[in-house]
């Protein structure tokens, strides 16, 4: 961060920015061999070692002056981690190990030849060309346009790819009202989950009386199973800053905050670097690009409270208070941060703004469905083959996302449901796989678009246990201010827990439905208003599975501890004694080389025997 401050000279006019862009474009030879390594999500699988090995090989093979090694954000296909791309050939390599570096440099960088073994597997054939990899084919990149393409710590990379051109256009050619018109014409709706039209929101903030207004970026991505915003913040932080600056110009704000999860250390670091660079270059701060528009951005790290993703709670947290929501109205546009008119949008919403302003609202609205325009980023996870970040046009079907882009189910299991929208959302069952993904269709089947978490579950996932999981989350994150959420979700959790323990009663299902509806109607904020959704949607589609727990005292997926038992198949057991040694209860007995048995009375059903058995002799009964 300190390096960047001296390195970047202030741009004092729109022409300055254009000249700077021209210069960095000339310095960038698109034909020069270039390895782009994901250095964010792929770290956990050894991206650092891969990068170091590549750097060493480039040096040793004498290519240091001829090739570039670029550290980028997420490429999307996290299942293939560590991944990298090689320009100008358009190759995409996955599961790269440090040992592969020598061949990558010697074969691909030196002579442009592909390494088949690192390609994407399609029925035994290795696909090297990124454009042909099924995972990328159905996608359309607007928000993730730069993720994986650029070094997120270099503003010049962002500027080379039209970065800050939209801000320059807004400041030179468009009035604030024009900007709002473009955003309205784009049909963009808030990507945080609620889907309120962004242009309309800005209009409300602009027309709200007051000479001091604030702009906030909600980067408190807390839904379990969601990492879209993390991908954008880590891989392309300037796209968020530029979107914020344009929004500030449109609504008339001169001060902004990014409220980011402290649990995202790389995102925080990249944001800090990006803010320092933008300030040094006069792209943030006072008299931006020599105009009389000024806008400063501050970073606020969240302190670990899910409810702070709710906008009134978020503002309370910025003000240094306990993050508890307040009733609306007044809406933030009327009275927000420190009582001033405030506009809050989510990370992905802001990342959409620059392309809209640059290419026009109509261009954006040409993609999508009647009520849902543009693209949406989803984090695909769970029992799907290609876990990762995907960006698709609105209106695409769930089947295309999960089976074409996502590569289908892991391990040949059967698709059971897609859980969308996290703790506020619902499960979409197999019968709705051909549903187009848009705000209205998803709501009609009892789910929501949400912020973009998409967890795919298979027959080994217990739906009742999943519903209980979400409710447990809502209950522990409930701030306690209003009774329906604080007490109501606890009662629901007690009932669900009882069902998963085999002590459910048939009237419980009726009670869950009734409680859920009342909590939704009467809670103060979005947390409680949506918290019962996972239960209500699973009751709708998986009632039989609830009934199996209640009537038959049986968990069909073999998940709920109290309803299953572990047994050792004497035909398969070799008597290796490993399970007996690992069992924390000493519940497994048997002589060496003789089949072992589990004492059900002592077993606590931790499942460790199943985990450790090398012969698959332990079964769930």
């Amino acid at each position: 961060m300190t390096d960047s401050e001296g390195k970047y000279a202030r741009l004092t006019s729109l022409e300055d920015l254009a000249r700077y862009r021209e210069r960095v474009r000339q310095e960038h030879d698109p034909q020069r061999p270039r390895v782009r390594v994901c250095m964010t999500g792929c770290r956990a699988f050894g991206a650092v070692q891969v990068r170091d090995a590549l750097a060493r090989e480039i040096e040793e093979q004498g290519l240091a002056r001829e090739v570039d090694l670029v550290e980028t954000g997420c490429h999307g296909l996290c299942a293939g981690a560590p991944v990298l791309a090689v320009d100008p050939y358009g190759f995409f390599y996955q599961h790269v190990r440090p040992e592969d570096a020598s061949d990558i440099v010697g074969t691909t960088l030196k002579s442009g030849a592909p390494l088949e073994r690192l390609g994407y597997d399609v029925n035994g054939t290795r696909v090297i060309d990124r454009e042909q990899v099924p995972f990328f084919r159905g996608q359309r990149f607007v928000v993730l346009r730069n993720c994986g393409q650029i070094d997120p710590t270099r503003v010049e990379d962002y500027i080379r790819r039209d970065g800050y051109a939209a801000l320059a256009r807004a400041l030179s050619e468009l009035s604030p009202e024009d900007v709002i018109e473009q955003v309205k014409a784009s049909g963009l709706r808030g990507r945080g989950g609620a889907g309120f039209p962004t242009g309309r929101k800005w209009e409300l903030a602009r027309s709200s009386p007051g000479d001091k207004k604030y702009l906030i970026c909600n980067a408190d991505e807390g839904d379990p199973g969601a990492f879209m915003d993390r991908g954008v913040l880590e891989g392309d932080p300037h796209s968020v800053l530029e979107g914020m600056a344009i929004a500030a110009y449109a609504i008339g704000a001169d001060e902004g905050y990014i409220y980011v999860r402290a649990e995202y250390p790389i995102a925080v670091r990249h944001l800090r670097i990006a803010i320092a660079q933008a300030e040094a270059m006069g792209l943030l701060g006072s008299s931006i690009l020599g105009t009389d528009f000024g806008f400063t951005v501050r970073l606020k790290e969240g302190a670990g409270a899910f409810v702070c993703g709710e906008e009134t709670a978020l503002m309370a947290s910025i003000e240094g208070r306990r993050g508890m929501p307040n009733p609306r109205p007044p809406f933030p546009a009327q009275s927000g941060l420190w009582g001033k008119p405030t506009n809050i949008n989510n990370v992905e919403t802001f990342a959409n703004i620059a392309p809209i302003v640059l290419r026009g609202g109509e261009w954006y609205a040409s993609v999508g469905t009647e009520g849902s325009k543009g693209t949406k980023v989803f984090s695909l996870a769970g029992k799907v083959a290609n876990t990762g970040l995907v960006e698709v046009p609105m209106g695409i079907t769930l089947r295309e996302v999960i089976f074409d882009i996502g590569g289908g189910m892991q391990g040949g299991h059967e698709f059971k449901a897609a859980q969308m929208g996290g703790p506020s959302g619902g499960c979409v069952p197999a019968q709705h796989l051909d549903l187009p993904i848009d705000y209205e269709s998803l709501t009609a089947v009892g789910s929501i678009m949400g912020s973009g978490g998409m967890i795919v579950v298979d027959d080994a996932t217990c739906i009742v246990d999943l519903a209980r999981f979400f409710l447990n989350f809502v209950q522990s994150e409930s701030c306690g201010k209003c009774v329906p959420c604080r007490v109501g979700t606890r009662r629901m959790l007690e009932i669900l827990t009882r069902i998963t323990q085999g002590e459910g009663r048939e009237e419980d299902l009726e009670a869950l439905g009734r409680l859920g509806r009342v909590i939704k109607d009467s809670s103060l904020c979005g947390l409680g208003q949506t918290g019962p959704n996972p239960v209500l949607s699973t009751l709708r589609y998986f009632r039989d599975e609830y009934l199996a727990h209640i009537r038959d005292r049986r968990c069909p997926a073999g998940v709920c501890h109290e309803l299953i038992c572990y047994i050792i198949d004497p035909e398969v057991c070799t008597g290796c004694t490993l399970c007996a040694r690992k069992c924390p209860q000493g519940a497994i007995a048997g002589d060496k080389k003789q089949p072992h048995t589990i004492d059900a009375a002592q077993c606590v059903k931790c499942g460790l025997c199943l985990e450790v058995c090398k012969f698959d002799a332990v079964k769930v009964g």
Binding site: G41, R43, A44, F45, C78, A79, A81, E221, G222, D223, P224, G225, A226, F227, R230, R261, A262, E263, Y264, P265, R298, K300, E301, G302, A303, G304, A305, F306, S317, I318, E319, G320, R321, R322, G323, S379, A381, G382, K383, T387, G388, Q419, G422, G453, I455, V457, T461, L466, F469, F470, F473, E477, C479, P584, C606, G607, L608, E611, V612
Partner: protein
Amino acid sequence: MTEHVEELDLAALERIIAAERVTGRAALIPVLQQAQDHYGYLPEAVLEEIARRLRLPLSIVYGVVTFYAQFHLTPRGRHTIRSCQGTACHVKGGKAVLEALQRALGIRSGETTPDLRFTLETMACLGCCFLAPALLIDDQYFGKLTARDVESVLEQFS
């Protein structure tokens, strides 16, 4: 990092508070975050000093500290283990990994080992669902774990 109460050097707080661009209540959470980074946790004397310097009632400071999961009133282990219990980790066996951690360390989630080697926490989601089930130890991620892997992971931290 962790210091005993009697040896606390409260002068560091002066530096932290002076560096904040805002004062009073708006500075409270950032000051608490930095104070915790410095002291390892938030001892009573530190909270009292923060309250005094920011001119806030101690009850307000305490209320904020206990509201947010990130703040700690007791000493922490040298390494913080965050066991992800998000949705993807939940459906892929995250609970078994947590149970194995609790067995291996002899503590429950939210506790610290008596030798101050580890503090064990659960997180609703680390935001790296492709690693499920995942662990974050300090700033190092571990993914696609089973209960079997737990001991070899812990051995990497002393």
